[in-house]
């Protein structure tokens, strides 16, 4: 796959789509260990219940990691200038994350040609889980 060119990208394009497997307790255990976020809310159902939750739930940053994967599947990470995400709802065990990225704006800053992507993460029913933006530099 060649890298996308600035001239070939148009506002409204939807070059990014990624769908994960359902999030399992194993996913959360591995993510907790690998990420270094050992908050028991994500890995210990006893703790989660004692805190008033029905079950453990996913780390917000796991959803953001999926957004990041989706972006770097389109452009190399060296093109990434900024990346932000708002976590809009808790992701539960058993839900999938579906990421869609659209070209929201083309702009130039200094010597760089930049594209702003609108990113949305939903579950398999289309319910919002996270929303964000990434700015990437294209040649």
């Amino acid at each position: 796959m060649g890298q996308p060119k600035f001239a070939d990208v148009a506002v409204g394009d939807q070059p990014i789509r990624l769908e994960t497997d359902p999030i399992s307790r194993t996913t959360l255990a591995l993510y907790g260990g690998a990420s270094g976020d050992h908050n028991p809310m994500h890995i210990d159902i006893d703790y989660a219940k004692a805190a008033g939750e029905s079950d453990v739930f996913a780390h917000g940053m796991l959803a953001m990691a999926y957004l990041g994967r989706a972006v770097t599947s389109w452009v190399p990470q060296s093109a990434l200038r900024s990346f932000n995400t708002r976590f809009t709802a808790i992701t539960r065990v058993g839900e999938k994350i579906v990421v869609v990225g659209k070209v929201a704006e083309k702009m130039e800053a200094g010597s760089e040609k930049l594209v702003r992507l609108d990113l949305a993460a939903t579950n398999e029913k289309g319910e919002s889980k996270a929303a964000g933006e990434a700015v990437v530099a294209l040649s």
Partner: protein, 146 residues
């Protein structure tokens, strides 16, 4: 309600090693299969000195400094009440395996909404590598559900 006196609270600089095995484990945990993140030859061909850290990994490294838990404890916020509201990154240079990254985190804002039912804590972090180069800037917003 969180005392606003904590605005400006800054953690001492703390340095974290970027470990190759940890990066491979992280790639597995997030389902990342691009070999640039796990195969050193592919990473070298892409111009990296070693395996690169994926876009969100700077947050993970910063978590190693314990600044979040340290700030939460200092403000008297129970861990079970917090949610991650949002996260931002600005990227200035790659972070790769073998780097030593120094983080410093400052509480920049504390405010509430819905009559105090929700409180928001903004934390700004700088990440500099072993050469003193600013590699990334992070902003974390923590929501406290009262």
């Amino acid at each position: 309600m969180i005392d606003k006196k904590h605005i400006g609270r800054t953690t001492p600089p703390q340095t974290v090693d970027v470990e190759k095995g940890r990066l491979k484990f992280f790639a597995k945990a997030i389902g990342e299969t691009d070999p640039v993140y796990t195969d050193e030859a592919v990473a070298a061909a892409a111009g990296y000195k070693s395996l690169p850290a994926p876009p969100t990994f700077a947050f993970c490294l910063e978590m190693e400094t314990n600044s979040l838990w340290d700030n939460i404890a200092a403000m008297g916020v129970p861990v079970g009440k917090i949610l991650h509201g949002s996260q931002s990154f600005k990227y200035h240079a790659p972070i790769c395996a073998g780097d030593r990254v120094t983080f410093q985190t400052t509480i920049s804002k504390i405010y509430d909404k819905k009559g105090g039912a929700l409180e928001f804590i903004h934390e700004d972090t700088t990440a500099k590598n072993q050469e003193g180069v600013l590699v990334a800037e992070l902003e974390r917003v923590i929501v406290v559900r009262n």
